[in-house]
């Protein structure tokens, strides 16, 4: 799940306020935006780009590699199914508050069609110096500078802070993968870590997690097998327990999901877990030095 500048990107919901604002930011940065979708404005042009009535119509006029959805919560399922049926293989779903059962439905359809889904409730993808898809401040050079650190984050704002800290310390970012804050998402921490491990430009991986769910525990199972050093910060150590925590995860899995559980799982897998985001750059530098020594 890393986006590249050659990929052709469709914006579903391009004519809305946010769709318009971010379509222009993405295009200005280097993302190959081919146009957008609004069923009520098919055939029109918007910010100099064609508007189609559906993703399937757009696909007839030219290949679409990625579709990014600026769509209200209750419209997401249909818009995503439109893109999946059109044959789009990468969907980026930014919307927060998508009903979980709608998310399950579109994820089942995507799995069957061999399409990857990022989100729901993600801030998107950034490949610094190349392109971005979603609503990340890729164009802010204090936050995103090209480099060799891959970052996976559930939170957009916290991911932004982590990239900022890395850049402030002289590092650069190879790819940012925002996976989203919802309980059920298409691309998990584990999936994102795998793509960063396979990415030749990435030398080290930062896993930015949060309390709740078992994404970090699952990723820890894989981290043992990857070749690159990894560092992690998990948000929520000081959060009060029991508020807004679901039942489903806790039921079958006992203690998994708490800060302590995530920290333990990652540390046992050899990941350096740091207490504050500002400690990430030094931990990365130490791990990279260690990795260089090992290969000698």
């Amino acid at each position: 799940m890393i986006v590249r500048a050659h990929e052709r990107v469709l914006v579903q919901g391009i004519t809305g306020r946010q769709g318009t604002f971010w379509a222009e930011r993405m295009r200005d940065y280097g993302t190959r935006i081919v146009g957008g979708v609004n069923p009520a404005k098919a055939g029109a042009r918007h910010v100099g780009l064609p508007v189609w009535g559906s993703a399937q119509e757009a696909m007839r006029d030219g290949r679409i590699d990625v579709s990014v959805l600026f769509i209200p919560p209750y419209g997401v399922k249909d818009a995503a199914l439109d893109a999946i049926e059109a044959g789009v293989k990468k969907l980026v779903i930014l919307t927060e508050h998508v009903p979980v059962q709608d998310a399950m439905w579109l994820l089942a359809a995507a799995r069957e069609a061999g399409a990857q889904v990022l989100g729901p409730n993600t801030a998107g993808l950034v490949t610094p110096g190349e392109c971005f898809v979603g609503f990340m401040p890729a164009f802010n050079e204090r936050v995103f500078r090209p480099g060799r650190i891959g970052v996976v984050s559930r939170s957009g704002s916290l991911g932004t802070l982590v990239c900022l800290n890395l850049v402030q310390a002289g590092h650069g970012i190879s790819a940012f993968i925002g996976i989203g804050g919802d309980p059920i998402i298409g691309t998990t921490t584990r999936d994102a870590v795998r793509s960063l491990d396979e990415d030749t430009r990435t030398e080290a991986i930062v896993i930015v997690g949060e309390i709740g769910g078992v994404l970090e525990e699952e990723a820890a199972e894989d981290v043992r097998t990857i070749s690159k050093p990894a560092v992690s910060f998990i948000a929520g150590a000081a959060s009060p327990p029991g508020r807004k925590m679901g039942h489903a995860g806790a039921i079958v899995l006992g203690e998994r999901g708490s800060y302590a559980s995530k920290r333990k799982a990652l540390e046992e897998a050899g990941v350096a877990v740091v207490p504050t985001p500002s400690a990430i750059p030094a931990a990365i530098a130490a791990r990279l030095r260690g990795a260089v020594q090992e290969t000698r």
Partner: protein, 374 residues
């Protein structure tokens, strides 16, 4: 959104799942009357959106209206799981031959609905998973196709006097409740097999997906409102997620992850956060009410404003804070740190309008706030 038992059971009944006859009572007199109308042995159950009511003494078996009155007198006014008991459910007692556990829930590992069935009903699911894992059936469902009843029936356990087809039918109905209500979890525990071969839902735990509430307003109206402090309720009414804590360093940040992190760093540097308050997502225009609410907490002695704009534009968030500034006249020191979308404009606003210099590093802003709160 949690539902109390008395609000959840009508959803089951409407789907054709048998539930005991019963009535809600708010006073001992009402409980006595309800037991009298039911005639015969009854059970009096505390109504709170929390588990472990039995272990807390909130459930009583009674043989007469007088006993129902006495039980209600004792249970009403108890506190269970942090909730004051304001009503009880008075139900007929059933003659139970066997207790089962059935549930349908959103499962993050299969990314779909999961049906769970156990013949060890009556104890809670954590106990079942620990003590009787071999008897726990996990049946994943493709949400686009629904439950195939024959496949399910073939995997169900055999229970004396109850046909598998009957149990499969009840589970199918439960699944329809789950699908038609945007549920996160519908759990019937116990599902009782009675002497006459019926399956009756003796209890029901029901949690609705908060993201489904707007399109299921009629159903959601029966849900139990979250218990909130006055400030939390005020924030909710304004569309803000605010949680009051007992510390002294106020937090105003965008995005759940960044807000939690700000709290973590406050704790890491020796302070105590006074609240969780995030104005991220669609709420990023709400800087004005956010500042009002965070400073209305009298424990707050300093405030960290930490913005990392992605979707949420920092200039818009800071603009909202400036709108509130003159009216609120913050009596405590405020420490800004601002990065991301709209950063240059936001930093300029803070400098020009407030004469404050935002910190380049979050840790420095937090450290200053923690020291100021001492």
């Amino acid at each position: 959104m949690n539902f109390e038992e008395h609000a959840a059971k009508p959803l089951l009944a409407a789907a054709g799942i048998a539930t005991p006859r019963g009535q809600v009572a708010r006073t001992p007199d009402e409980a006595s009357l309800a037991a009298q109308m039911l005639g015969g042995p009854a059970v009096v159950k505390a109504q709170v959106p929390a588990g472990k009511r039995g272990k807390a003494g909130g459930i009583a078996l009674v043989a007469s209206p007088e006993e129902a009155r006495a039980a209600a007198e004792r249970i009403l006014g108890m506190e269970i799981g942090g909730h004051a008991v304001e009503k009880v459910l008075v139900e007929e007692q059933m003659v139970i031959v066997h207790e089962l556990y059935v549930a349908v829930l959103n499962d993050s590992s299969t990314k779909g609905p999961l049906v769970m069935v156990s013949t060890a009903g009556g104890m809670d699911i954590e106990e079942i998973a620990a003590r009787r894992p071999e008897g726990l059936l996990r049946f994943p469902v493709d949400i686009r196709k629904g439950i195939d009843e024959a496949t399910l029936a073939a995997r169900l356990p055999e229970i004396d006097g109850v046909g598998r087809a009957h149990l499969a039918d009840v589970i199918q109905r439960l699944y329809h409740v789950y699908r038609n209500t945007d549920a996160e979890l519908v759990e019937v525990n116990p599902l009782a097999a009675t002497k006459d071969g019926r399956l009756v839902a003796l209890d029901c735990k029901f949690i609705m997906d908060d993201s489904g509430v707007k399109r299921r307003a009629e159903i959601a109206a029966a849900g139990a409102p979250e218990r909130l402090t006055e400030l939390e309720a005020r924030a909710q009414a304004q569309g803000l997620r605010y949680i009051e804590l007992d510390g002294t360093v106020g937090v105003l940040a965008n995005g759940a992850g960044l807000t939690m992190t700000t709290m973590d760093v406050i704790a890491h540097l020796g302070g105590r956060p006074a609240n969780f308050l995030e104005i991220g997502g669609e709420a990023y225009t709400l800087g004005k009410p956010a500042l009002e609410i965070v400073l209305a907490n009298p424990r707050v002695r300093s405030l960290v404003v930490n913005f990392c704009g992605a979707f949420a534009r920092t200039d818009v968030m800071v603009g909202g804070i400036l709108d509130a500034w003159d009216a609120v006249k913050p009596a405590v020191p405020v420490f800004f740190t601002i990065h991301g979308t709209g950063e240059d404009e936001a930093v300029a606003l803070v400098r020009e309008r407030l004469g404050l210099e935002p910190y380049e590093r979050m840790d420095d802003a937090v450290r200053a706030a923690v020291e100021a709160a001492r």
